[in-house]
């Protein structure tokens, strides 16, 4: 998800004052100067070699990346790349990630882009450093470079030998990369392509300090925030003194509608927050849309909201063959859905001598720093954000907001660090949800059963309101609630080819005529932002369900129908492999209780290619069980096969949970989803058996997989239910009640 990155580029062009600020952070601003040659991946914006790699005298290599570990295994994959390109053993690599004081600014860790961007940068930077070390060795040993060989940092040409660690003073990495040294050919890879175990897991299975939640600093106090009961509630009165008088309370903070407490002990902070909440009187407005507990009213409302209308893609050839056509039309809907991190968001902050240090599990420490500075009304230079892992986020959850809450509260704790974790109800009540969406699909088939016209029309709220989504605003919640607020601004929809609300709405299939339209709903009565895949989950649900509906109208098997309309060979290969591995029987009809369906997408039309075959059983009460999912994925060059399997498999299970169970609920005033009891997700009993088959293409560049399987999964399940029952479900989630109505 690169909204923020794009916005920042645009921003830098427009604002010279901010360029100066950014140049303090490192070489990012240099990239804005026009004469520089483009460099591969993340090197283009962070051009200094020593920004990426340091060779240490103690025989280790420190690799800096602006990307961060979110439980997706990125630091393991990047270390594998660095080890291979530098010719050192994997164990020598130390990773430093996402710190505004220490690492390259690589924007957000999002959009399944980390291996592509940071990985590509490291391949070229490490190849160049290796080349420089070899040149230095050649001079020192008085041997031609071609005669030298390298093994684990030792350069030799028998009988002479020198190590990287001996050569530190002979090379200068404090210069711009040139990308003139070619990374290794895939046949030379020793570590890339292997399923190395994740670096972060040993601590996580033994109770090590692995998360920001586990940080303990000297003198640290515990914080809690007291959020309004509804989005736009105004605080009328609150008894601060009563909360202040409770045992252990260090500070009670009220600033406008922002309320927070700090206490010596965590349970004391929770009790003080409860007391504060109980005494607070709020003025609320019933301004949420109708249909917040289900039904069509929400979607009718969305279609009537004011919108910015845009044509996303259009193909209108001058001449279309005449003849009889069959028209097919259908409308698909998706409710607001939650990230639902298992660990509520948390941050540690300290204010000392006017400088804020914030430890955060934000996906973008640099954009967060900028928006924090706006909320805190302090120069960017006074804020340092350091990434420390949190619970899995799956997009923009409360991570950035809680960082702001902790930083604001740190003003009231006399220099003592404060750890603030959201309660479960804070996370459900205030995390920005994946937007509810409506997708209206229309197609025309010619007499041969070929699609000759395709229309996909979307109604959606924004899918990124992350920090820096629009430089004119600030996107951290606490700042909005202050007496002197730092309000948000309306973010733009990221342009194609990646898109945001329209992500994956442009079909990869070859249709002679197509028209893709977006009604971008800029009012956000319900807070929305990036949930893993942005609009792609819903758009692929609609697109790939509708492909099956048109295949049915054409009387053609769904696999055959897809292949007929698809020229892209890599797309065809994953569709064919998934069908083969699943034992796909063409034109097989479900028996009323069992069925199978297939779906495909290339995430963003840019990242990995993925096809999923889902198998379901349906009982008379409408209970659907997803029994098996077989997937095929082409992610180009494979860096860590098990890492890919874990991501694709996890994506399938998460998407199946969204699809079968998940809907955020609200009344006209408040979000009423506040606990797991209100928001059931998949448990062990629900989870299907999952197979992942990888097509490894070592000569292709690596493609992101973190969001590759969610879109195909929802549509494969919808298609499997239709195959089993003969009835088409178009309204997510597929609860037993809806299935029962459909089949009765």
């Amino acid at each position: 998800m690169n909204t923020a990155i794009l916005s920042r580029r645009k921003f830098l062009k427009q604002s010279s004052a901010i360029v100066a600020t950014f140049s303090l952070a490192g070489p990012a601003a240099i990239a804005q100067q026009p004469a520089r040659p483009a460099l591969p991946g993340g090197l283009n914006n962070n051009r200094m070699l020593d920004g990426w790699i340091r060779i240490n005298a103690n025989g280790t290599v420190t690799v800096h990346t602006g990307k961060c570990e979110l439980g997706q295994g990125i630091l393991t994959a990047l270390a594998q790349i660095a080890a291979d390109e530098l010719d050192v053993s994997y164990e020598r690599i130390e990773m430093v990630s996402a710190d505004t004081a220490r690492t390259p600014d690589e924007g957000m860790t999002a959009g399944s882009l980390s291996v592509e961007n940071s990985g590509t940068a490291l391949r070229f930077a490490c190849a160049e450093a290796r080349g420089m070390l070899l040149a230095a060795a050649a001079q020192k040993l008085n041997v031609a470079v071609e005669k030298l060989s390298v093994a684990d940092g030792a350069i030799s040409a028998s009988p002479v030998r020198v190590t990287y660690w001996d050569l530190i003073k002979d090379i200068n990495l404090k210069r711009e990369a040139t990308a003139t040294h070619k990374p290794k050919a895939p046949s030379q890879h020793k570590v890339i392509g292997k399923s190395l175990p994740r670096r972060d897991l040993p601590a996580k299975v033994t109770g090590g300090a692995a998360y920001v939640q586990d940080m303990r600093l000297p003198g640290m106090v515990f914080g809690r925030v007291v959020r309004p009961p509804s989005y736009r509630a105004m605080l009328a009165s609150v008894d601060e003194a009563a909360a202040k008088a409770l045992p252990g309370v260090v500070a009670v903070m009220r600033d406008g509608n922002f309320l927070a407490v700090a206490a010596e002990r965590e349970e004391q902070a929770i009790k003080a927050a409860q007391a504060l909440r109980a005494s607070a009187k709020w003025n609320e407005t019933p301004d949420l849309p109708p249909g917040g507990t289900g039904g069509a009213a929400l979607y009718e409302h969305l279609k009537k909201m004011p919108s910015r209308d845009m044509v996303i893609s259009t193909k209108t050839p001058a001449a279309v063959s005449g003849g009889k056509v069959t028209s097919v039309e259908a409308e698909y809907t998706r409710p607001f859905q939650a990230h639902g991190s298992i660990g509520p968001s948390c941050a540690v902050a300290q204010l000392k001598d006017g400088k804020y240090q914030v430890w955060t599990h934000s996906q973008g420490v640099f954009p967060l720093r900028t928006d924090l500075a706006k909320a805190l009304k302090t120069p960017v230079a006074n804020v340092t954000c350091t990434h420390v892992e949190g619970s899995g986020c799956y997009g923009h959850n409360g991570a950035d907001d809680v960082a702001c809450d902790a930083a604001l509260l740190a003003r009231a704790t006399n220099g003592r660090p404060v750890k603030l974790q959201w309660m479960r109800e804070d996370e459900f009540g205030w995390e920005p949800f994946g937007s509810a969406m409506v997708m209206k699909m229309q197609a025309q088939l010619d007499e041969a059963g070929t699609i000759v016209n395709w229309q996909h029309e979307i109604w959606s709220h924004p899918h990124s309101t992350r920090p820096m989504s629009n430089p004119a605003g600030s996107f951290v919640l606490g700042g909005w609630h202050l007496e002197n607020p730092a309000p948000p601004a309306v973010p733009n929809n990221s342009p194609q080819p990646s898109g945001a609300a329209d992500r994956n709405a442009v079909p990869l299939y070859d249709f002679p005529r197509q028209n893709i339209l977006l009604h971008y709903l800029t009012d956000m009565p319900v807070r929305t932002s990036a949930l893993r895949t942005l609009g792609a989950y819903a758009n692929v649900f609609a697109l790939e369900s509708f492909i099956d509906e048109t295949a049915l109208a054409a009387g053609v098997d769904p696999v055959e129908f897809r292949l007929r309309h698809m020229k892209n060979p890599r797309a065809r290969a994953v569709i064919e492999l998934a069908a083969q591995k699943a034992g796909w029987k063409p034109n097989a009809k479900g028996d009323g209780s069992k069925g199978r369906g297939i779906a495909f997408s290339q995430y963003k039309n840019l990242a990995c290619y993925c096809a999923v075959v889902a198998e379901v059983t349906v009982d008379r009460a409408g209970n659907v069980k997803v029994t098996r999912a077989v997937s095929a994925v082409d992610a180009g060059m494979v860096v860590n096969p098990d890492g890919i399997v874990n991501q694709i498999e996890g994506g399938i299970i998460q998407s199946a949970s969204w699809t079968m169970k998940e809907q955020v609920k609200f009344d006209r005033q408040r979000i009423t989803t506040r606990s797991w009891a209100d928001y059931p997700i998949f448990t062990f009993a629900d989870v299907p058996a999952v197979e992942v088959h990888i097509i490894n293409l070592p000569n292709e560049r690596p493609l992101g997989v973190g969001e590759g399987s969610q879109g195909p999964t929802v549509a494969a399940i919808a298609n499997a239910i239709a195959n089993a029952t003969g009835r088409r479900l178009r309204d997510l989630p597929f609860t037993a009640e809806k299935v029962r109505v459909a089949v009765s």
């Binding site: 033994t206 109770g207 058996a689």
Partner: protein, 157 residues
Amino acid sequence: MPDYNLRVNGEQRTVRTDADTPLLYVLRNDFELNSPKYGCGLAQCGSCTVMIDGKPARSCVTPCSASVGKNITTLESLGTIDKPHALQKAFLDEQAAQCGYCTSGMIMSAKALLDVTPKPTEAQIKQALAGNLCRCGTHNRVVRAVQRAAGVAVKGA
């Protein structure tokens, strides 16, 4: 505030706090044990799971005063990175985590199962873990890890 004597991982520990303080905060903040995690505070997610007298317990809803005189076991007592317990080793061998926030609770629920049912069926494992939520979608790996630790057949292995 009264003092409470708690037996944690075989050691006698003392904490001064209110009677209703959830055991979770005592374990995390007073005894500096990282493994029990705050997830929901309502016994709905299982990430705070520890064992009390051999049974899995949600430390987020267990008052510390109710834990006196009982044996409290957390993940930390199982093994270390250098000498992992069979379950910890199996979770690493199966790479049975993504973010890992739920992992401690998963391992403790599995430990409580294996202590009484050393060779569980797949259905018994899923039943024992029914109250532990995972959001990353690593469920199948977790089941395989428990099977591996128990030395029972791993499907597809």
